[in-house]
């Protein structure tokens, strides 16, 4: 039972982390809370499904294509929706949320609600680790999740573009004065965030089916995990997702499965009330409260 908890807790944590990665990155790099995250996540899933099942593309190709399309869409969202309201936080939130809801409900209206919509797993089969059987897809998720987190940390801390983007989020005017273009940075951060949402979708969704309501859950999970870890810190994100991930698995095992959602919603409320910058966030300490 303990081995089971440990392993499935790990899987759950990495799933949460992957889910939140795009949201956290966008917020960290441009300060936009992309409430369309859940919509983009599901869009990637459905696009991959359409590419694979309607156009007959090979699974891997269809998934990569879906990620790219969603990434481009992220950039477009910035260009045509966020740019006119840039800087007005409320309008940013409302308009991205509207985009997300529009995407989700559009698919619902089009009848993408049945169980036919599931993505194929990339690798079949399963192994036994200390008496717990786990399938390759879940192992793949762990690998991709950890690799992406490392890669992102490297990107934001050790590459020119990454540093430029972070500079933008920390102090826009100073960044402008050293020649970083604000809109370019914003577009890139949205594109990256959306692309990551797509990656998360195509590796996580094969575990189950693609269902619309998941889009709303994904947004909440992303909020919970990033808020817990600190809205712009990669370390915080990792710690936050492991915290929430294990808490969810433990509560649903010992208290009942319906407690899972209470855990992450409770985490959002509690952390925001006590330490809004999260466990690891520093840079916005002064701005979020009086």
């Amino acid at each position: 039972m303990v081995a089971n908890l440990l392993i499935y807790g790990l899987v759950n944590s990495v799933v949460l982390m992957l889910t939140a990665l795009g949201f956290s990155l966008t917020f960290g790099l441009s300060g936009v809370a992309n409430f369309a995250h859940g919509g983009l996540y599901l869009l990637a899933g459905f696009l991959a499904w359409i590419f694979i099942n309607s156009f007959g593309l090979p699974a891997a190709l269809g998934m990569i294509l879906a990620v790219i399309v969603v990434g481009i869409l992220g950039a477009l969202i910035y260009r045509f929706i966020l740019m006119p309201v840039r800087g007005i936080v409320l309008s940013e939130v409302i308009s991205t949320f509207a985009v997300g809801v529009a995407i989700l409900e559009f698919f619902r209206w089009k009848g993408f609600v049945t169980y036919d919509f599931s993505l194929p797993v990339l690798v079949q089969g399963s192994v036994k680790i200390s008496g717990v059987s786990i399938d390759y897809q879940r192992l793949l998720i762990i690998a991709i999740g950890l690799a992406l987190a490392l890669l992102l940390w490297f990107f934001t801390h050790h590459t020119r573009i990454g540093l430029a983007l972070r500079g933008m989020s920390q102090d826009e005017y100073t960044a402008l004065s050293v020649g970083i273009e604000s809109d370019w940075a914003g577009m890139l951060s949205l594109a990256l965030g959306a692309g990551l949402a797509g990656v998360a979708a195509v590796v996580i969704l094969p575990l189950g089916i693609i269902s619309i309501n998941m889009g709303y859950d994904v947004l909440l999970i992303a909020l919970a995990v990033t808020v817990l870890g600190g809205l712009e810190s990669t370390t915080g994100l990792v710690v936050g997702s492991f915290f929430v991930g294990y808490a969810m698995v433990i509560t649903s095992t010992y208290l009942g499965p319906q407690w899972g959602e209470v855990v992450y919603l409770g985490a959002i409320v509690l952390v925001l009330a006590v330490k809004p910058s999260g466990l690891f966030g520093k840079s916005k300490e002064l701005e979020e409260r009086v």
Binding site: V89, A98, A102, Y216, L220, V262, V269, P276, E288, V290
Partner: protein, 343 residues
């Protein structure tokens, strides 16, 4: 557009003359000031008289329109204090559940539950939000987004207050006409009271907190306490709306915390225009009937109103009300542009 001309907006003469009600010079001036207001009020008041023609369905639509309008008003007031709520359903649910609980457990009728749930629900909501009132901007928004969802999940797992089944067979109102007039009265009172409130010195503090909270702190105000009062005042109509709907449907359950009650008011205000209260009401009178007309299309209506939200946020941030107001008070004309070199 002709490059040699520019558009000029000028107040109508009648507007300039009648700007102050004490110098109304003629019947025409009087009508200019009074007619738009009176027309709306009269139309609303005679609405229930058409119940035979319209049938119960449109009456229910009217009811839910006004309920959303109450939530939108509450949102607008909160926004006036700089608190942007993404979870109006918190207030709705609080009022609804309190009324439901009182009526379910003690058998109280709406006569008692409505006032108690309105005030009590507002108090409870204020207490719930008190610890997070220090938060600003998006952080406050996020937490209000999560709180109602959390509450409904808690009700689901702990099975308190009826759990997923909710509480049903609660007492209802005598008839629909009465319901319409009751909500209408509350709506009028709320609009009037809120318009008055923001004009007073007390209300000015609210707007000051929105504009620059640190300056208000520096001026020696306890903004935490002011925000709490603001939340209480804003929660009143929203809690009433919740309590009212509980008795209207004779049922209260987890859907009282549904996302709809958060998104619709927000969209209404964005459509109507932030900060005028009339805009909030106007917005809901556009949005709710529209979404009813689109009901046949199922989820498509949600798509439509999210797109409306988007279009208005980006394209017409001032909202319909200010737009209409400007058209009423001003006229536009093209005037030849002076040569730039002359300046």
């Amino acid at each position: 557009m002709n490059p040699g001309y520019r558009k000029e907006r000028i107040d109508r003469g009648i507007k300039v003359r009648s700007d102050d009600v004490f110098v109304l010079a003629s019947m025409r001036d009087l009508l200019y000031v009074v007619l738009p207001r009176a027309l709306v009020i009269i139309l609303l008041l005679i609405f229930p008289a058409f119940q035979d023609i319209l049938g119960s369905y449109w009456q229910n639509v009217m009811l839910s329109t006004m309920v959303i309008a109450l939530l939108a008003l509450s949102w607008d007031l909160l926004a006036g204090i700089g608190l942007v709520s993404l979870g109006q359903s918190l207030f709705f649910g609080m009022g609804g559940y309190l009324a439901g609980y009182l009526s379910f457990t003690f058998g109280w009728g709406p006569l008692y539950t409505l006032p108690v749930a309105t005030v009590g629900g507002a108090l409870l909501s204020t207490l719930t939000l008190y610890p997070i009132l220090r938060l600003r901007g998006i952080y406050f928004g996020m937490i209000t987004f999560a709180v109602p969802l959390l509450l409904s999940r808690v009700i689901e797992v702990t099975k308190i207050l009826g759990g997923t089944e909710g509480m049903s067979s609660l007492p209802s109102f005598p008839n629909t006409g009465f319901e319409l007039y009751l909500v209408m009265a509350v709506l009028f009172v709320t609009v009037y009271a809120y318009r008055m409130l923001v004009g007073t010195d007390y209300g000015l503090v609210f707007n000051a907190i929105r504009d620059n909270d640190r300056a208000v702190v520096a001026a020696g105000y306890d903004i935490q306490w002011y925000k709490a009062q603001g939340v209480f005042i804003a929660a009143l109509p929203a809690c009433f709306a919740g309590a009212f709907m509980t008795h209207h449907f004779q049922f209260v359950g987890m859907p009282a915390f549904a996302l709809d009650y958060s998104i619709l008011p927000l969209t209404s205000v964005v459509i109507g225009g932030v900060g005028t209260f009339f805009g909030a009401v106007l917005g809901s009178f556009v949005l709710v009937p529209l979404s009813e007309l689109l009901r046949e299309f199922g989820s498509l209506r949600v798509v439509v109103y999210s797109l409306m939200l988007l279009v208005f946020t980006i394209g017409l941030p001032e909202g319909i009300f200010r737009f209409v107001l400007r058209k009423y008070h001003q006229f536009e004309r093209l005037v030849p542009m002076e040569e730039a070199s002359n300046e």
